[in-house]
């Protein structure tokens, strides 16, 4: 049976202190090749100091159909945000 190179997701840290961010995908036969390909494809213009690759098939993603139950319940929990609390103007830096 013919097998094609699987798809990988690439995450690049642009400089130390920042998080890795998803920047795209590519094909590779194994994780070493995925890392090398990511370096060659996604850091040609000095975009990164660190790379993560993960085979796309290993990502479990939430289903947008469940967005209601997953994300909407957080919307009315306004007390989690600082602006919920009334303080007099004299109190600065809080």
């Amino acid at each position: 049976m013919k097998k094609n190179w699987p798809l990988w997701e690439v995450f690049v840290r642009s400089k130390n202190g920042l998080e890795h961010r998803h920047c795209g995908s590519l094909h590779a036969a194994d994780e070493d090749m995925a890392l090398e390909n990511a370096r060659d494809v996604y850091t040609r213009r000095s975009e990164g100091v660190s790379i993560w690759v993960v085979e796309s098939a290993h990502i479990k993603a939430s289903n947008p159909e469940n967005n209601g139950e997953l994300f909407e319940p957080a919307q009315d929990k306004v007390y989690r945000h600082p602006t919920f609390y009334d303080l007099p103007d004299e109190v600065k830096h809080m």
Binding site: W5, L7, G24, S25, L26, H27, A29, D30
Partner: protein
């Protein structure tokens, strides 16, 4: 799902796009949206990788080391852009291999401009200046298209592409300011690439299909004729700056329209090339098919090796 349910979903979907919300891969989408995007995005990806060939043709013959590295980097970018676009299209449930298959069998199209030959070095200038110029006009609005992965790929592409047109114009400038022989080479390239570049922006609005739907989905923001006018209006002054003549005797400024009027495009030629009978269609496709077929044993070897490595690791773990 009942027809009424689908209609209602479609309505919600269209409303989301109208509100400028992005559609992401796992979101529900009308089958037509998926199909149209697969077609347009893969066509775009194919254009990038077939587009590598006419310019790749001059890499070994570039006239200076500086020009050689710039051209190499540019053609490499096109491979990268093809890769970004294929990956974005894969999120719609089609594999890169299936897309290649469609390209190789002629089922999928790519931009017809790449079916013209690159005869002289000046063609590297003309392609960068005109073809990339026209491409940018087409592409910039796509950075804001409705399908998230496509929009993100286009942002990356546009960012990287900004040097391509400058590189082309610089080549033309050097030729135009060079010896009479060089200037003649530049003029000859402009003569050959001007009309195909205008055709590249697509058939006229009255015969163009899909436009209304594409506008709604933000796959297109302006009509072909508007894009063409924009391209001409911005390019004519650049040609003047180069001291070159655009090969159109009907080209003249229209004061009331604040735009250039231009001559009749030879649409017979356009359709002939689209249908596979341009000067280089067969050569381009053979190059792509050869690269893919001759690379099969290499790709298979890598997969076989990866599996051996995995098995070894598992054995060690036991």
């Amino acid at each position: 799902m009942s027809e009424a349910q689908i209609k209602s979903l479609e309505k919600q979907f269209d409303d989301r796009i109208a509100r400028d919300e992005k559609i992401e891969p796992k979101d529900w989408m009308p089958e037509k949206y998926r199909k149209t995007h697969i077609r347009q995005m893969s066509q775009h990806a194919h254009s990038e990788i077939v587009g590598m060939l006419p310019e790749g043709n001059w890499i070994t013959r570039a006239p200076s080391l500086r020009r050689k590295v710039a051209l190499l980097a540019k053609v490499q970018d096109e491979a990268g852009h093809g890769l970004y676009l294929y990956s974005a299209t894969e999120t719609l449930g089609i594999s890169r291999e299936e897309m290649y298959e469609q390209l190789h069998t002629g089922k999928a199209k790519y931009s017809s401009i790449f079916n013209y030959p690159t005869v002289t070095w000046a063609d590297m200038g003309a392609i960068g200046w005109l073809v990339d110029g026209a491409a940018i006009i087409n592409q910039v609005p796509l950075c804001n298209t409705s399908y998230g992965p496509y929009a993100r790929a286009m942002i990356r592409v546009c960012k990287e592409e900004s040097f391509h047109q400058r590189q082309g114009f610089e080549i033309m400038l050097k030729l135009a300011n060079g010896t009479p022989e060089q200037k003649e080479m530049a003029q000859d390239a402009l003569n050959r690439w001007w009309w195909p570049s205008l055709m590249m922006l697509g058939p006229t609005d009255d015969v163009s299909t899909h436009t209304e739907q594409s506008m709604k989905w933000k796959l297109k923001r302006k009509s072909n004729d508007d894009l063409r006018q924009q391209f001409i209006d911005q390019t004519v002054p650049q040609a003047e700056l180069l001291g070159l003549t655009i090969p159109d005797k009907d080209l003249k400024w229209n004061e009331s329209r604040q735009s250039y009027d231009f001559g009749e495009i030879d649409w017979d030629e356009f359709w002939q090339v689209v249908k596979g009978h341009g000067p280089m269609n067969k050569v381009r496709m053979k190059a792509r098919v050869d690269a893919w077929e001759k690379g099969a044993w290499v790709r298979d070897a890598a997969m076989a090796h990866a599996e051996k490595k995995r098995n070894k690791k598992q054995k060690q773990a036991v």
